[in-house]
Amino acid sequence: MKELDELHLPDDIRYTDEHEWARITGDIARIGVSDYAQDQLGDIVFVELPAVGDTIARGEVFGTLESVKAVSELYLPLSGEVVAVNTALTDAPELINQDPYAAWIIEVRPTDAGEYDQLLTAAAYLDLLRG
């Protein structure tokens, strides 16, 4: 397990208290899990993805990550319609462990862009982890 100062937390994205991150490009938000999440979970063996076209509200479960001994639910940071899922994760779930920021999980079209500003900055997320 990494120490807090060893975690990689890019500051150009936002985070949630359930350890997801979101990055908005144009009208699409990419969603993944933080370095802290993948480190805590350990080797990821399976990713359960939603279907493209599903409409999911902020805070609802959109998928799960499984390690050998645990299951972690994924909570959607921004309400919206799922426009893409990262199918590479079906055959190679370990991509999330290798680079949790390159290995995005889903893309949504947010229904309320304002929700993004309510998410945690990297600094606020680090404070949360420290606390």
Binding site: F46, E66, S67, V68, K69, A70, V71
Partner: protein
Amino acid sequence: MRYLPHTPEEISEMLAVVGADSLEALFAPVPADCRPTGSWHLPLPLSEWQLDDHLAGLAATMGTGPRTRVLVGAGSYRHHIPETVRTLASRSEFLTAYTPYQPEISQGTLQGIFEYQTLTARLLGMDVVNASMYDGATALAEALLMGLRINRKRTRVAVSRAVHPNYRAVVESYLRPTGFTVEDLEFGPDGRTDVSALSGRDDLAAVALQSPNFFGVIEDLDAANAAIHATGSLAVAAFTEPLAFGLLKNPGVCGADIACGEGQSFGIAPSFGGPGLGMFGCRKEHMRSLPGRLVGETRDLEGRRGYVLTLATREQHIRREKATSNICSNQGLCALTAAMYLASLGGTGLRRLARLNHDKAHYLRQVLVDAGARLPFTGPVFNEFVAEFPHDFAPVRDRLLARGIVAGLELGAFYPELAGRYLFCVTETIEKKDMDAVAAEVRA
């Protein structure tokens, strides 16, 4: 007492280390109002030899014994069990080991169950088979629940009336509190399930047939599964006599999505109905919805092949209320026993034994018909069939019982419309002379 090794001196030493005055003092946290108020009035402890006598006394009051010719199947089958299977299954290391959670010291159990999964998958034509359920009935209930999980938007399932009545009863018990509905599918004069009632339906999550069914009739599974799939449902193929697949097309090749049933025929004594062996398999795409334990192949850190329990995130100890089932202890030793039996039988032996069962049952069926019996169902059969007799068969059956032959199971208690008809089973344990004796009594 030979299972309790402590001497009084040892007890004293240990109490001193613990800091308690007496064994009774160890239970101080238990309040007085939680305790029993009197004796249990159990019999005085028996010595090993008294226990032998006691069980022998119970056995003596049984109306059948190992020498009785039992011409009844109905979900519990008398097959020859090689002494090797009994001896190997009773080896301490298999018998007294726990669930293989520490794989490095449980490779015997793990490889044994992996082999069972593989042989059963090949027999049933399924991609994945689990490490066992309790029995064929609970396996069917879990198969329907699995179908309802996969076809999440639907809340109804259908089960053929030609499925074993006890299995249907268990399905009802499991589904009653859930709000899901079970409906019946009728059987026709050929003894096969009538799937025409499915036509146009789009509200069923899963449909279950049994083949060979309770009447011994081999269902037209290809046609039935096609009809089931046309409604968008999952096709569940149940069975009580898997020896049939040594001869007949297996559920997988006939299009089943889930195959589930009873494996007791494979080296497990009938034992008044338990322990049995719930066999359960499915197609690859449903693997993560499968209930029960799974053993998988892997490598260790030195590259050696080995086996571990895997995909455990489906199970109760991790997923808790979202698990695919609540099952924890299964019928592990029975699964291993079945693998030992199938290993002894071999592929060539399996075909031969299945044919022998088929031929013998057809011989009895023929000589009964020659003696005046009628066959209410026209469909093809494996090693069981239903017959009815021109005169009251009950006294004939009683005479045969007095000669050590149990001739069939009367069906009226399960199917009122089939009162007076008898379900017969013939396995390799029955000789021609026994069958000729039955026919002679019918003729008399």
